[in-house]
Amino acid sequence: MEREKLLKPGTYFMTGNTAVAEAALIAGCRFFAGYPITPSSDLMEHMARRLPQVGGIFIQGEDEVAAINMVLGASAAGLKAMTATSGPGLSLMEEALGLGFMLELPAVVVDVQRVGPATGIPTLGAQGDVMQAIWGSHGDREVVVYAPSNVQEAFDLTIDAFNTAEELRLPVIILLDELIGHGYGRLRVPNLDEIRIVDRKKADIVEGYMPFKTHVLVPPFAEPGKGFRLHMTGLVHDERGYPVIDRDATERLLTRLLLKVRANRDRLVSYEVYPCDGIDKAEVMIVAYGSIANIVKCALKRLKAHGIKAILFRPKVLWPMPDVELCKSVESYGVENVLVVEMNYGQYLYLVRAALLHCPTPYRFVSITPGFYPSPKELSERILRVLS
């Protein structure tokens, strides 16, 4: 019955926010807690309408801190849970994201970016939350950050995000921006059987169960109500979940938590090189992601008209970063100049810089004023100016 209420296979015309919400329902999300914030409110409103229909639970919290912690609570109780917010809300959620990492609770946080800092411009998109998504929480934390660039990808990557969260038992972040969130686009929904959906590995032996004991990286999850004895704490803990102040236990826990992402890096990274065929050599490689990558794709044609052979390298997963792949692409295409184009004053630039540390290719940066999307013409002119 629940399955009948999900989005039917077919082609749709919808906004990125709606696509994320529908993808979450297909991925099995049955709990959403949120707090109103432009430009992510309509995602929450959609969930408020849809979740009761599929037997899920929707709660509006009293603030973002409540929302994310409710999501963690729901996840600890065994449901696939999600929240959506924007930059200021993500700042408030950061502490809980660290907690979710420590307690190994799967959760998906959608950040529909807007201009910051502070209130900024709530109704215009930006890409200013990259650093805060990757490194916002205190302590050493690893996270997986998705950056879809159109409605279809918002749908696909949301399902991936839920799968990753469940598989690795950690909170993951989806970075949309206002343009993708509110912009309409084409969405093709495949047969539900064709969509790969992962559920967290459940523990089966109650006797002597230790919540954080594992010989692989991700411990099995104890379902509530099945008789497991569970002890969870945000303090550094041992295999039993009891707090410890011990060098070896600290080392063991933190390295295992970090390795969940670091050891799975090759599986997690995802990127696109555009145009994908017909080019074996390029003078310029543009690194861009999210909605800006779409504008870059259009600008590439204009650059070609000016006699510049350029390609786009677009990470779909911002973190873990496809740094090795970036370097390899630079070498294989014989790139002379790397150009980072972002709608901020240099955030992903730092990661690209680190990736190209041992690469002799020079890199340059084109900063787009947050909130003000350039036309392909404006962007190509700016790129030409930077290159000359």
């Binding site: 949120g34 707090y35 109103p36 914030i37 432009t38 409110s41 309509d42 929450m44 409103e45 408020a48 309408r49 009761p52 229909q53 929707f58 509006q60 919290g61 009293e62 603030d63 973002e64 200021p88 502070a118 209130t119």
Partner: protein
């Protein structure tokens, strides 16, 4: 500090209010929005020596339309959750500057925190409670339109029972919000601050006098003002004041104040109307059945009984129509 330096007279008619306007016209509040009226008269009462701290919300967004501002007094917009904290900081700084003689110690500077229901009931509640407990001399005005109207009519702690909002939709499973409105003024009164009041712009003289008292007391003051919202409550903009008036006439909204521990109802209602008159005017209650309306009516009856019992006399009368 001299208390009587700029002591204001009791307002008996609209003509007693100063002619000066401190909220400039041309703001972009919706047609029929009562928030503009509330703020305009609040500033008339407060006068030029006033600093206003505004949390994110309708008033903040609409009065500061790029590249203009409607505020003719010093004004600061902060994040969503911290109007009370910033107001505390401003008040404490003024106190220090007056002690050190940088500012004239006899000069009375009003600090007003202005926030909507989302910024008070929900996300700003912690900051508000801190302000009240520390006892800063700040007047906190809550304009309550009973949902997050600025972000698109999402429910808040102030949304009444059964009201439709975009996050409490009406369908087969949900029938609007199923929780009661949080009694915020009573929660604030439990902090034992010198002045707490609820006000209704339809009872305008009562409202401005409450602003006056709130600015004069020595310590924190809190005024909770109902603000009918044509956009979110779904009614014709010309009926804003009518809806506000009906709120008091049906005792959905009771105008009371607690001044130094003394509780009184400032607008007695000798004959009370049935709540259906209030509910039927608004689209957000359009889905209600008679049974649900009776449930709301029973809740109001209990509230009225509680108020009358608390005062020891009948100030809110029986249901007549």
């Amino acid at each position: 500090m001299s208390q009587s330096a700029t002591s204001r007279p009791v307002y008996r008619s609209p003509f007693d209010l100063p002619r000066e306007e401190y909220l400039a016209p041309g703001h972009s509040l919706c047609a029929g929005c009562v928030a503009g009226m509330i703020v305009r008269h609040l500033l008339k009462v407060a006068g030029p020596n006033t600093i206003v701290v505004t949390a994110t919300g309708c008033v903040e967004v609409s009065t500061t339309l790029y590249p203009y501002t409607s505020w003719r007094i010093p004004w600061i917009h902060v994040a969503f959750e911290n109007a009370a904290s910033v107001a505390s900081g401003i008040e404490a700084a003024i106190k220090v500057l007056q002690r050190k003689g940088v500012i004239d110690p006899n000069k009375r500077i009003n600090v007003i925190a202005l926030a909507g229901d989302g910024g008070t009931y929900d996300i700003g509640f912690q900051a508000l409670s801190g302000l009240l407990e520390r006892g800063h001399k700040v007047l906190y005005v809550l304009y309550d339109n009973e949902a997050y109207m600025n972000t698109g009519i999402q429910r808040s702690g102030g949304t009444p029972l059964f009201a439709w909002t975009t996050t409490t939709p009406v369908g087969k499973v949900w029938k609007g919000k199923w929780q009661q409105k949080k009694p915020i003024a009573e929660i604030v009164a439990a902090h034992r601050i010198p002045y707490v009041a609820t006000a209704n712009p339809a009872y305008f003289i009562d409202m401005v006098n409450k602003f006056r008292k709130g600015l004069e007391v020595d310590g924190p003051a809190f005024i909770h003002v109902i603000q009918p919202c044509p956009t979110g409550w779904r009614f014709d903009p010309r009926y804003s004041i009518k809806v506000a008036k009906l709120a008091t006439e049906t005792a959905m909204w009771i105008n009371w104040e607690i001044e130094n521990g003394e509780f009184r109802v400032t607008v007695p209602v000798p004959k009370r109307k049935h709540v259906k008159h209030y509910l039927r005017m608004q689209g957000r209650f359009r889905h209600l059945t008679d049974k649900e309306i009776e449930e709301i009516q029973r809740f109001i009856d209990r509230e009225v009984e509680y108020i009358n019992k608390r005062l020891g006399k009948e100030v809110i009368g029986p249901l007549v129509e």
